[in-house]
Symmetry: C2
Subunit: 280 residues, 2 copies
């Protein structure tokens, strides 16, 4: 197949490395000439261009730009496409993307390969990034079956585990396990900063160890990604924040009431439930 990738960052570049290795011809598009050069040099694409028109012959195109650029990119891309071209995206929020992209292109299917590492950019691209990772495909009832099947086949050749759900179910699920943790974790760091006694704050910094490090990790991470989560998954994130706040209030009440057995029950429950969220 001829596969186009718009946006040559960590995800776009990693897709290119795998897909080329499988024998596909990969055409990349980036706004940055240096990124184009580097992508060719690294073997992430066969050819790279600044111009979306270079993808006119592609069978399948991945939109792998930052989330806020996906819809506008698709609008600029469609005049160059033949009707058979399948377009998908890799954004981590789906409802808003899918509902805006489907009217622009009949053969669009939303997708979310849930892989990454703490680095960004084409330099961070790596082979087999998607192996064992979830790849969520979020078709609508109107989405052409052929587009869905093609994306599923490609996702499986990447070694990913394919899941199907509606854009809304995806966004609700990732609000719980990805976006809520960022806000919970960031608030922990910010709250620790409010300690008014300087010597206590300094002591806290000196004594913090793996528990704090792990709980604060995603809250001290990529700022742009955090803002995008809030912006594009606002409604579901707010719902999960409301529920989280209620849960925290309940636990706090147990502590206020010195109800040690209620706290024990609460923590036994979380200890038992957590493994359900851990894949092998």
């Amino acid at each position: 197949m001829k596969i186009g990738i718009v946006g040559l960052g960590l995800i776009g570049g990693s897709l290119g490395l795998d897909l080329r290795q499988q024998g596909h011809k990969v055409l990349g598009v980036s706004r940055n000439p240096q990124t184009c050069e580097l992508a060719v040099e690294m073997g992430a694409v066969d050819e790279a261009s600044l111009n979306l028109a270079s993808l006119s012959q592609a069978d399948l195109i991945f939109l792998a730009t930052p989330m806020e650029a996906i819809v506008t990119t698709l609008a600029k891309l469609t005049p160059h496409l033949t009707p058979e071209t399948i377009v998908t995206d890799v954004a981590s929020v789906k409802s808003e993307i899918v509902s805006n992209c489907v009217p622009l292109w009949w053969n669009f299917v939303g997708g979310h390969p849930m892989a990454g590492n703490s680095n960004q950019g084409i330099q961070a691209a790596q082979l087999h990034l998607f192996q064992q990772a979830p790849y969520v495909i979020t078709p609508l009832e109107t989405t052409p079956t052929q587009a869905i099947k093609t994306l599923e086949t490609i996702a499986k050749t990447l070694g990913a585990q394919v899941h199907y759900c509606s854009p809304e179910a995806h966004d609700r699920a990732v609000a719980w396990i990805s976006h809520l943790p960022v806000m919970v974790s960031a608030s922990l760091i910010a709250a620790c900063e409010t300690e008014s006694e300087i010597h206590v704050q300094k002591l806290a910094q000196q004594l913090a160890s793996s528990g704090f490090r792990d709980t604060s990790r995603v809250g001290g991470g990529n700022v742009e990604l955090g803002v995008m989560m809030a912006r594009y998954n606002r409604e579901h994130l707010l719902a999960s924040l409301k529920q989280y706040s209620d849960t925290l209030t309940q636990l706090t009440a147990y502590i206020e009431e010195s109800d040690w057995s209620a706290i024990a029950t609460f923590l036994q429950d979380t200890q038992q439930v957590r493994p359900k969220f851990l894949r092998e």
Copy 2:
């Protein structure tokens, strides 16, 4: 020196392994005969007994029992001691322990070696557990200088980094970086469980990855330890929970107001602050 250790679990056993290697004579006390046998077999103690009277000749005694047993253990221990014996503890909360132990024994100095792993019991004991770990010593104005110096010397030979502060400063600091994270993390797990749509909850479990794993780790851990934190550090934990809740409410308000630049500023700040809490 002759060193006594009451409570032969992970911390007591690991202290014994290191102290014996340094040439001290280590006398252990446990309520469990099998633990006594195992501690001798493992080389964690020279001798082990069920009887506190066996420590009558000790120069320094570590109380390394579970937190709730420390004060009662000291009360039973003191009739057997000569006045020169220094007694310390290893509890992770200090104000309540120190204020109850000092009236029982003039030569008591509170301590908190902040090391551990996810296992419990003498089987988990290991050499060099305290290397590079913080060792907080929390004397009062009335604490004999000799007791403080002796404990500091021992802590340094364990390779630990010694910090001095008041019991209250210790408890306030660990509320922020150790006890608050447990409650924040446990509430995340419990909140995710409230998702009413079964297919969304199942999907969330399938899609959860390293972000959720790290943020939820301490909230799905040792139940007894979590209850002890709430019980013995109740006041400081409640203060930090109140502040945390206010911070989370503020961040939630930014999301409600779609104030993306405020969210970006918030997350830039947490990204900048976090490294202060990470030791090399």
